[in-house]
């Protein structure tokens, strides 16, 4: 899973080099980037070069990799370059060479071998005043807060279900600033981005939120680099241990309080002398994250019930009836977004997917594909089993779906009903005198990939961008 194209990676990549320079001053950041963001081959390169004093000629490094793995090598080198870890230099006799850049190399060496007293990995608290908090209760806290955030987004309160996590104003503002929810008529409404968000696994969600937080940090007068490196620090802490707050700067303390609202860290009160990272923080930069951890187990599965990862709970019949074996308010309100719910039992809700319910969802900006992927991810094991026997009759190259094909098709058709016209903004070129005059720019537009529509008979064509085509026409005069 390491270094799969991910949101944190995309975000980091977009930062300027000077930010990296500041980030890599911290050993915890260097280590976090090293273990989470790099593919295995890139890790090999970094480890091999880490203690070299002089640049290594590019040819020497390149022969380490067999010729059939050139693709992996290039992608590893490109990732290292984009994260400003490896730099292209030249050796003394002017040969192209690689070198691990400096703040990163020094920090990673320090992280690996230790150094004199640093606070980069947090300072363990020695005094346990309130009797240490157990891992179980930290998980419970993290789960409650995070489910509260998701619940707020999908509007569990609208169903008349009590909420036990109290969300601060900052959390709500952040969700709004990230366009995950919108406030319409003083009611919270989930956006299309928000719907995609709640369907992701917990690890991805946490990163998404953290990046939003970092991006908004500047606006409330904090240094985004400081916040980001603090997040990397948190990710390297140990679950179940408490850490001193004395050594933190005022901005870091502020971040800490904000992150406590999300359940990423726990402190018994904002004035407490120490804090605990929860599993949401400690799994941020480790590979052993999402699936196997109990938080996402209870979040994505039926609440509290079976903790088995990936066990679905939704059954859909070909007559559009839906049965969901869950008692989680969050899941129920997610399902309610696109289903007309009918009955609720202690461990089961039933409903029907109707034209109205799908249209309602689509009007909110949810797409048919998002609904289908949600249903498919959470399909009950019985549906999967049932489907294995049928999937041999696989028609027209469509991959066998766990969902009844009629339902999937109908959801798509209901969406199409809403979009009867396909609109593309752009420019219409017309009034060409001769066919020859028309043909050349038309072909050019097609080549550069801006052509949408053309008619040879009317000598007109439609493009999304006109600058290049216009320049082309001018040059031919």
């Amino acid at each position: 899973m390491a270094a799969a194209p991910s949101r944190p990676f995309d975000y980091l990549e977009s930062l300027p080099g000077t930010v990296f320079f500041k980030l890599y001053q911290q050993p915890s950041t260097a280590l976090a980037i090293f273990r989470r963001m790099l593919p295995d081959l890139a890790k090999c390169f970094v480890m091999a070069l880490l203690y070299l004093k002089d640049p290594i000629p590019a040819v020497d490094l390149e022969i380490w990799v067999k010729s059939e793995s050139l693709k992996e090598r290039d992608s590893a080198l490109s990732i290292l370059g984009r994260l400003h870890i490896l730099s292209n230099t030249t050796t003394a006799d002017n040969v192209r060479a690689y070198m691990v850049t400096n703040p990163f190399a020094a920090s990673l060496r320090q992280a690996l071998t230790g150094a004199e007293q640093t606070q980069s990995f947090g300072v363990l608290s020695r005094t346990s005043d309130e009797g240490s908090t157990s891992i179980g209760s930290l998980d419970e806290y993290a789960r409650r807060q995070w489910e509260g955030v998701l619940g707020y987004m999908v509007g569990t309160s609208g169903l008349g279900i009590q909420r036990d996590a109290n969300l601060s104003k900052g959390v709500k503002q952040l969700l709004q600033a990230g366009h995950l929810v919108e406030i319409r008529d003083r009611r919270v409404e989930i956006t299309q981005d928000g719907f995609a968000f709640v369907l992701q696994d917990v690890g991805t969600q946490v990163w998404h939120i953290l990046i939003l937080y970092v991006e908004s940090a500047e606006a409330i007068g904090m240094d985004s680099v400081e916040v980001l490196s603090f997040i990397f620090l948190l990710s390297s802490l140990e679950l179940g241990k408490s850490y001193e707050k004395r050594h933190l700067t005022s901005n870091q303390l502020r971040t800490l309080t904000d992150l406590a609202d999300f359940g990423i860290v726990y402190q018994s009160s904002p004035e407490a002398g120490q804090f605990y990272p929860t599993r949401l923080a400690t799994t941020l930069t480790s590979d052993s994250s999402a699936l196997s951890n109990p938080i996402s187990g209870t979040l994505s599965g039926p609440g509290g019930g079976s903790n088995q990862p990936g066990s679905g709970f939704i059954i859909i019949e070909t007559n559009y009836r839906l049965y969901a074996y869950t008692s989680s308010p969050l899941q129920i309100s997610l399902i309610a977004l696109f289903t007309t719910l009918k009955y609720r039992f202690p461990n089961l809700v039933t409903g029907k997917i109707t034209r109205q319910s799908i249209r309602r969802a689509i009007e909110m900006g949810i797409t048919a594909d998002q609904i289908i992927s949600y249903l498919a991810t959470h399909a009950h094991p019985q549906m999967r089993k049932h489907n294995v026997s049928r999937s041999t009759s696989n028609q027209t190259g469509i991959p066998p779906s766990v969902l009844p094909p009629t339902v999937v098709d109908q959801i798509r058709l209901w969406q199409l009903e809403r979009d009867r016209v396909k609109a593309t903004a752009g420019f219409l070129f017309k009034d060409f005198v001769s066919l020859a005059e028309y043909e050349a720019p038309c072909r050019y537009a097609e080549e550069i990939g801006v052509l949408i529509w053309k008619s040879d008979r009317k000598r007109m064509f439609f493009v999304t961008r006109h600058e290049q085509v216009a320049a082309f026409l001018r040059n031919r005069k």
């Binding site: 009836r321 009867r420 609109a423 903004a425 060409f432 028309y438 949408i452 529509w453």
Partner: protein, 72 residues
Amino acid sequence: MPRAVRGVLIECDPSVKAIILKYDEERHDYIVEDLDDDRHLVIKESQLQNLKLRLGRELDEKVMQPEESESE
């Protein structure tokens, strides 16, 4: 002398195109260019939202929907 005109290319069913043509007859304020096949035309960018709304409303009224039985 070739010209470029800004607009929005609409791709739709012939039936929907007929409706748009009908709208345009009222005040000629939608269409930039009728592209003479059954499925395409270019309209003014400013009218796109308006058109979508109007189409949605009209089609909801006119298109027959099978009765949805709420019985279980």
